[in-house]
């Protein structure tokens, strides 16, 4: 089998790609001087997948939180669970579910190929019973409760539910106590068959590996399945928020806030160039050296916990900024005023250039990390981009594009989420 090489001379790195006959796409970035190797095996199935396309083309609704539930359950095996198998090779294994994917991963210094076999096997061999599903409802129930007490988690999900009417991004990744109660073993097997076919998945490896040997393990352990890549349903949403203010009381010391600008998306996905332009635009606007941040700081309306994010995925995109504040309403007012003014004047070119260099630096640094690289290769593949494309895009980014992204920010599309302190006595 012939691997396609993507070379980046500046980084002196190569990524090798193979479309395996079973349908799985495999990406490998070998790092010969490293001791650690990291592998991630992922499927395009996350918390936003609350419906599944049937053979007749119609979409069937499924409970919230199934992707995450299935992630927990796949570790179980008929004889040994996956953790027990990895304990024999010494690899450190884990998994996570995000809005748009479920990823199974491990890292190790020794016995990589053996561990890779375990990873490919356990993800391809679902095994659960009604009894183990019920036991998992208790564990995940505790996980949901843990997050319900975390203010930075709540402030974000409250904002998302204020911004989005229908889009499932508004619901906690793990679902709710009620939604996971609807999950049973049969449903999990059905969903497994829909979402865990190799055409819907990707394997990314980075570290001290030999590509040929990785492919040999893949040949031995991958089993061809039927099915195609999961086709998501895009439903256009009005850019207007559901509500402009959402508040919750939690046991925290000070108020926390997050302001979000919903983007008017006529198509489901933001291009890589626009995504990077948005990141640089937000750094210019909200970054540590920006006049806005320093104005908020000098008025004691924010502290160093202030952060911003360009948050996007299939069917949703928004710009967020927030942190701890003694007066969230006032902070939000200043942010809204500055956004409106900057939309008129455009970004400061010197600040834009600093922000671009900063982002470029963080992109380069990322290539240190076998974990970072593996997950990045996966993100790029799921996003329909080629390896290393982001570096070229950042190098060629113009202020005009960043200003075009800036002009997408409209105060009438924004909402404010606030967490208020709940005292012990209340």
């Amino acid at each position: 089998m012939k691997l396609k090489e993507y070379r980046n001379n500046l980084l002196s790195e190569s990524v090798f790609h193979l479309k395996h006959p079973t349908g799985l796409n495999i990406f490998i970035l070998p790092k010969s001087g490293y001791t650690t190797t990291y592998a991630v095996f992922a499927t395009k199935y996350g918390s936003i997948d609350t419906s599944v396309k049937k053979a007749d083309g119609a979409y069937e609704t499924i409970p919230e939180g199934t992707a995450h539930f299935l992630e927990h359950k796949l570790f179980e095996g008929e004889e040994l669970d996956a953790f027990e198998q990895f304990a024999k090779t010494g690899a450190s294994a884990n998994a996570y579910t995000s809005f748009d994917r479920t990823a199974y991963l491990f890292s190790c210094n020794e016995n990589f190929y053996e561990s890779l076999g375990i990873l490919l096997d356990f993800v391809q061999k679902p095994y659960f019973t009604q009894e183990t599903v019920e036991k998992e409802q208790g564990i995940i129930g505790q996980e949901i409760r843990m997050y319900k007490d975390l203010a930075d988690w709540e402030v974000m999900f409250n904002l998302l539910s204020a911004l989005y009417y229908e889009h499932p991004v508004r619901v906690d990744i793990a679902g709710t106590q009620e939604s996971i109660a609807k999950i049973d073993a049969n449903l999990l097997y059905d969903l497994y068959r829909s979402f865990y076919n190799l055409n819907n998945m990707v394997l990314c490896v980075c570290g001290n590996v030999d590509c040929e040997k990785v492919i040999a393990v893949a040949d031995e352990h991958l089993e061809k399945t039927d099915g195609v890549s999961n086709e998501r349903r895009f439903v256009y949403e009005s850019p207007k928020p559901v509500q402009t203010l959402v508040e919750e009381n939690l046991s925290v010391a000070q108020k926390q806030f997050l302001i979000g600008y919903k983007e008017d998306r006529k198509t489901p996905e933001v291009s890589l160039a626009d995504e990077i332009a948005s990141q640089v635009m937000l750094e210019t606007l909200f970054g540590i050296t920006s006049p806005l941040f320093n104005d908020l700081l000098s008025q004691k309306l924010v502290d160093m916990s202030f952060y911003y994010e360009f948050f996007n995925g299939f069917g949703y995109a928004c710009c967020m900024a927030g942190g701890t504040s003694s007066n969230p309403e006032k902070a939000a007012e200043i942010i809204r005023k500055t956004v409106a003014e900057t939309v008129k004047t455009g970004l400061d070119p010197a600040a834009f250039e600093r922000a671009r260099r900063k982002l470029y630096g963080s992109m380069v640094k990322m290539y240190n990390s076998v974990e970072g690289v593996s997950n990045h290769l996966m993100t790029m593949y799921f996003g329909g981009c080629k390896p290393f494309e982001e570096l070229e895009v950042c190098r060629n980014l113009t202020i005009e594009r960043a200003n075009r992204r800036l002009r997408k920010l409209k105060n009438s599309y924004s909402a404010l989420s606030i967490i208020n302190p709940l005292s012990q006595e209340q």
């Binding site: 304990a87 505790q142 982002l359 470029y360």
Partner: protein, 425 residues
């Protein structure tokens, strides 16, 4: 791979030269006895990060960092045994990857760190009041917000309760009231003390040969009359009377933290046996706590044990429904007893050694290498990860059981949900 040398009295430089990475890191770790002014030292390290003579305000300093391709600088304080640790940490992309040829980013970062440490924004024996006030506000807020994350708050409270009569029971910033009372003059005094009395480890991981870095720090310390203070840690080998503290909060999930004495006499005492005992007990996903408290009884999402070698204590923490406190405590103690009784196989030991070897030998980032060496600031002998792993490979089952038998419960801290707060979400 690490080259450690003394460059001034009580000051060591550890350089690891490698072109494996895209970035470089430099850190300065300063250890002070916990008997000193914890709050002044803690605020000092934050103020040093805030600005310096050359970049006298926050914005100018951060603009400089952005120009260096988003170099990052952080200042932190923590505990290592009964020492207060102050640390400045810089990370930047390696010179080879700059957009323009010939940019010396690593040396620029070392210059910045030296500027902060040796030439802060001080006039006539007083720190810049604006910088001090701003950082004080941030620090006070940080302290106040400790209760936001109930899990780490509970872990901290358990240690406070367990070590209430020892220096280790103090927080590394002293108290909120002490921080509030600090003046720019106090900080000047703290700065002088730290420069003179701290035990220092400078760590540099970079493709650079480290010569310029050594020269810069050597020059800085040569102007200081060094008198490193002695730092010792008390190890209480016997557990005192059991004490339980409960606090009620309006939360969804309760948090339980148990505090144990391990019987260790010093950091190195039976080092390997304790590490493996902890791992088999509750350090990993194949451990007894995960397999039983979580997987078998579904009481929690997380349940971990952590041995703190530098103080000879061990903690177990988990998030549970309030009414399950007794059930969880009983099961945790039953699992500890199982380790005491040798209820594990040679394969389990092998898996633990392998797991720890994987963890310690995964030195594939400059930050991980830097942290490995800088946490040894107080140790006479500097161990490589390989040497630490070799200590584990010699441990026998008998030694693991013996270590477990010395582990005794002394404290429990519980955050319980206030009535009416559970279930409704």
């Amino acid at each position: 791979m690490a080259n450690v040398r003394t460059i001034a009295d009580g000051v060591r430089l550890c350089t690891v030269q490698t072109d494996k990475f895209k970035s470089a890191v430099i850190s300065v770790t300063l250890a002070m006895p916990m008997t000193g002014s914890l709050s002044a030292n803690a605020l000092l390290i934050k103020v040093l990060r805030h600005s310096c003579k050359k970049y006298p305000d926050f914005v100018r300093l951060n603009k400089k960092l952005d120009e260096l391709y988003g170099a990052s600088l952080s200042a932190e304080f923590s505990k290592n045994g009964e020492a207060q640790i102050l640390r400045l940490f810089a990370s930047c992309i390696d010179d080879r990857f700059a957009l323009e040829n010939g940019e010396k980013i690593t040396v620029s970062c070392a210059e910045l760190l030296c500027g902060m440490l040796f030439n802060p924004d001080v006039k006539k024996g007083v720190f810049n009041a604006e910088a001090v006030n701003e950082e004080k506000r941030f620090l006070l807020q940080e302290i106040e917000e400790e209760i936001n994350d109930k899990r780490s708050y509970a872990a901290k409270r358990c240690i406070e309760i367990l070590c209430r009569n020892e220096l280790y029971g103090k927080t590394p910033y002293g108290t909120k009231e002490e921080v509030e009372a600090l003046t720019p003059e106090d900080l000047y005094e703290a700065w002088q003390n730290v420069l003179k009395q701290s035990t220092v480890m400078i760590t540099c991981v970079s493709s650079d040969d480290g010569k310029r870095v050594e020269k810069l720090f050597k020059k800085g310390f040569s102007k200081i009359e060094r008198q490193p203070a002695e730092i010792t840690t008390e190890f209480r080998t016997r557990a005192g009377r059991f004490r339980r503290v409960e606090e009620k909060f309006p939360v969804n999930q309760g948090k339980l933290v148990l505090g144990f004495r391990t019987g260790k006499k010093n950091k190195e005492d039976d080092f390997g046996a304790y590490v493996l005992m902890n791992d088999i007990f509750g350090g990993n996903v194949y451990s007894k706590l995960f397999m039983n408290v979580r997987e078998k009884l579904s009481l929690c999402y997380y349940c971990w044990a952590r041995v703190i070698s530098g103080k000879g204590i061990l903690t177990v923490d988990c998030g549970i429904d309030t009414e399950n406190e007794k059930k969880a405590t009983d099961e945790i103690l039953a699992q500890l007893k199982a380790v005491c009784d040798g209820d594990f196989t040679d394969d389990d030991i092998k898996a633990s050694v392998m797991g720890m070897r994987e963890r310690w030998l995964s030195m594939d980032s400059p930050g991980a290498i830097c942290t490995w060496y800088s946490t040894q600031v107080l140790d006479e002998i500097i161990y490589t990860p390989e040497e630490r792993v070799a200590m584990l490979e010699k441990v026998t089952k008998k030694e693991i059981c013996a270590a477990a038998k010395r582990v005794k419960l002394e404290a429990a801290y519980m955050i319980s949900a206030q009535e009416g707060q559970t279930d409704e979400t």
